[in-house]
């Protein structure tokens, strides 16, 4: 049945009732699961080409625009929300369930609002709501690190939103329209919007909010975080900047640079955050190529990333929930007590590594093929290197150090059943799309004429993966693989977390010293003047003496004589 209800409305109305169900956990669980189910039915009923428009101050706003691109992200966000909500159903009183569930549902609704927004004002509103609602998923962890990271996260995203609004205003001034569509990178408006989207997409140098904040979220909160914010940015890039060549280079750099950090990172959820940036690099690159195959590949990879990255974050969240630890140096040997979680994590690892029959294989290959078809011969080897790098940090490192490696001595048990069910759904979807890629291809915005399972592609991918794994195995056997060391690694956030403070302190001390010297010099001058004045006009000063009448007469005579002499000569 055709629907015309804005997709975000289902979630916002759903979120309104959540706080009233705080004392009825079972009812709350049913209600929470119903929200994405009803939302999905609503989106399924949205006709392609449907637009909801309103007039505001002489401008036409389009709060809902349904086309193949927005509908794909709509389906994805409902699926992501459904899995993440199931994953979070066990939350108890100490976990602030009301705050977490309410903010998560508003967050998912905001993501839907953003991808169905047909104009900049609607996009801006949901852009900021995304930041404001999601920060509670970090703050509710309640550690000092989480509070600070959440504050930095909020600051960065609010700045991104304000930049987006500035771009929208300039765009409206120049074109007289607030419609959000293909922009191209010409003019101030386009660059401002591009910058705003780039911050949310975690472009290099603007990426550290992701690395900083996601690992500090609650075990369930980070699963929501991994699904929405960056994917909204990928959607915005696909909508506004497809085919911009600069994105190919940004994407290539994004895909490569974080994998070096991922190798040496000790916190496994931070490793996954670097991995997320690496995967977004593939999507950005695909959007930059701009052909139908490449853009299809980019959005298909975004779809798959929500599933496999969500699965990996869920498995690490389960480990964190059960053991309180996420650091590789403190984990290991958990496969003995968490066999199901181990198996599901391995499915996520196989998926992200693009092993045939798993979902990344059918989407990443579209981007790699597009690079070859469009003769980007220098970028292709770079992306191939990044593909191999994924195997190391996400394919091997995550499951190996958490569940195998050295025996940490931790003896725990499987996480709550709802967590396992959510991970099971994620894993099943990874395999289903890997085995039946046409299910995803049929939803993509452009027509798909691509066959992932060619002999050459299967063989070359297996060769790449096998020898990448062989290199890791060899480095382990030769004992030159970097050990997991409790540490932090400096990244771009060092600039504002450390350097900015030091520079401010230095500038403050220089200004303070100059101010002090100036004040001292000025006061010295005032003091000297006062002293001179006192000497001259004080009780014994020359100007304060009582002069006798005779001396005055004498001086008057001298002056008159001098005057007379001047007159005569």
């Amino acid at each position: 049945m055709p629907s015309s209800i804005p997709p975000f409305l289902v979630f916002f109305v759903g979120a309104l009732l959540v706080p009233f169900l705080r004392d009825a956990p079972r009812l709350r669980a049913v209600w929470l699961v119903l929200i994405p189910v009803v939302g999905a039915l609503n989106v399924w009923g949205l006709q392609e080409g449907f637009e909801l428009q309103v007039q505001l101050l002489g401008y036409t706003l389009t709060p809902v625009r349904a086309d193949r691109l927005s509908l794909l992200f709509g389906y994805l966000f409902h699926l992501g929300a459904f899995i993440a909500i199931i994953y979070s159903l066990h939350l108890k009183k100490g976990d602030s369930p009301t705050v977490q569930h309410t903010s998560a549902v508003v967050y998912a609704g905001s993501a839907l609002g953003a991808v169905f927004a047909g104009d900049f004002i609607t996009l801006f509103v949901f852009w900021e709501l995304l930041a404001i609602s999601s920060v509670f998923l970090i703050w509710t962890r309640r550690t000092p690190a989480a509070i600070s990271a959440g504050m930095r996260y909020l600051l960065v995203h609010v700045v991104s939103g304000v930049t987006l609004l500035a771009g929208a205003m300039v765009h409206a001034h120049q074109t007289g329209s607030l419609d959000f569509g293909p922009m191209g990178l010409e003019g101030l408006a386009a660059w401002l919007v591009f910058l705003a989207v780039g911050v949310k997409a975690a472009f290099p140098l603007a990426h550290s909010w992701l690395i900083d904040a996601y690992p500090e979220g609650t075990p369930t909160g980070t699963v929501f975080l991994s699904a929405f914010t960056t994917k909204v940015a990928v959607y915005a890039l696909a909508r506004g900047f497809a085919g911009e060549e600069v994105l190919i280079y940004i994407g290539a750099f994004m895909a490569c640079f974080p994998i070096f950090y991922a190798v040496i990172e000790n916190d496994l959820r931070r490793t996954l955050s670097y991995s997320m940036m690496n995967q977004i690099g593939f999507m950005v690159c695909g959007i930059g190529i701009g052909t139908t195959l490449a853009v299809n590949g980019a959005v298909a990879h975004a779809f798959n990333d929500v599933l496999f990255k969500g699965l990996l974050f869920m498995s690490m969240g389960a480990v964190m929930y059960m053991t309180g630890k996420t650091k590789a140096s403190e984990l290991g040997g958990l496969y003995k007590t968490m066999p199901w979680t181990t198996a599901l994590c391995v499915v996520g690892a196989l998926s992200i590594s693009a092993v045939p029959l798993f979902n990344a294989f059918v989407s990443k290959s579209m981007i790699m093929s597009a690079l070859l078809y469009e003769h980007h011969y220098w970028i292709w080897p770079v992306m191939l290197f990044a593909s191999a790098g994924v195997v190391e940090h996400a394919g091997i490192k995550i499951p190996y150090f958490a569940f195998f490696a050295h025996d940490s001595g931790i003896r725990t048990r499987e996480p709550p059943r709802n967590m396992l069910v959510a991970m099971g759904i994620g894993a099943a979807m990874c395999i289903l799309i890997g085995v039946q890629p046409h299910l995803l291809y049929g939803l993509l915005p452009g027509e798909v004429d691509y066959h992932a399972y060619s002999y050459t592609h299967i063989l070359t991918q297996i060769q790449l993966l096998c020898f990448a794994i062989a290199a890791v195995a060899a480095f382990h056997l030769w004992k030159i693989y970097p050990a997991e060391i409790p540490s932090v690694n400096l990244d771009v956030d060092w600039v504002y977390r450390r350097a900015a403070g030091k520079v401010t302190g230095f500038v403050g001390s220089v200004v303070g010293a100059a101010d002090g010297a100036l004040r001292t010099a000025f006061l010295g001058a005032v003091r000297r003047t006062m002293r001179g004045a006192f000497r001259a006009s004080g009780p014994r000063g020359v100007l304060a003496r009582t002069w006798p009448a005779g001396s005055m007469v004498l001086w008057v005579s001298i002056l008159l004589s001098a005057f007379l002499l001047f007159q005569l000569f």
Binding site: I259, F260, Y261, V263, I264, A328, S329, G332, G333, Y335, K336, L372, Y373, Y377, W380, P381, L384, F385, A388, G389, V391, E392, F401, F404, A405, H406, D407, S408, S454, Y455, T456, H457, L459, T460, Q463, L464, C466, F467, A468, I469, A470, A471, V472, A473, F475, K479, I480, Y481, P482, A483, E484, I485, P486, S487, V488, N489, L490, D491, R497, R498
Partner: protein, 82 residues
Amino acid sequence: MSEHKPNSVPQPWWGRILVGFFTLCGIVLAMDFFGRPEKYHPLEEWPVMYPFFGFFGIALLILAAKGLRRVVMRSEDYYDAE
């Protein structure tokens, strides 16, 4: 450090897994010599290009990451200090 602690997986298992895995590597390497129908990049003309890229790409990644660690690694309480 973690690498000095005992492995949690029984040694015979590891042995079997590694033997099986390196056999698979040998098979896929040999298959490269039977030809590939699709080649788009000049590099793909090279024999065993993908295995080479996989192995040495990861080797380069690990060695470079070890070098990076010397520059960027700090103690865990680095940002908590002061």
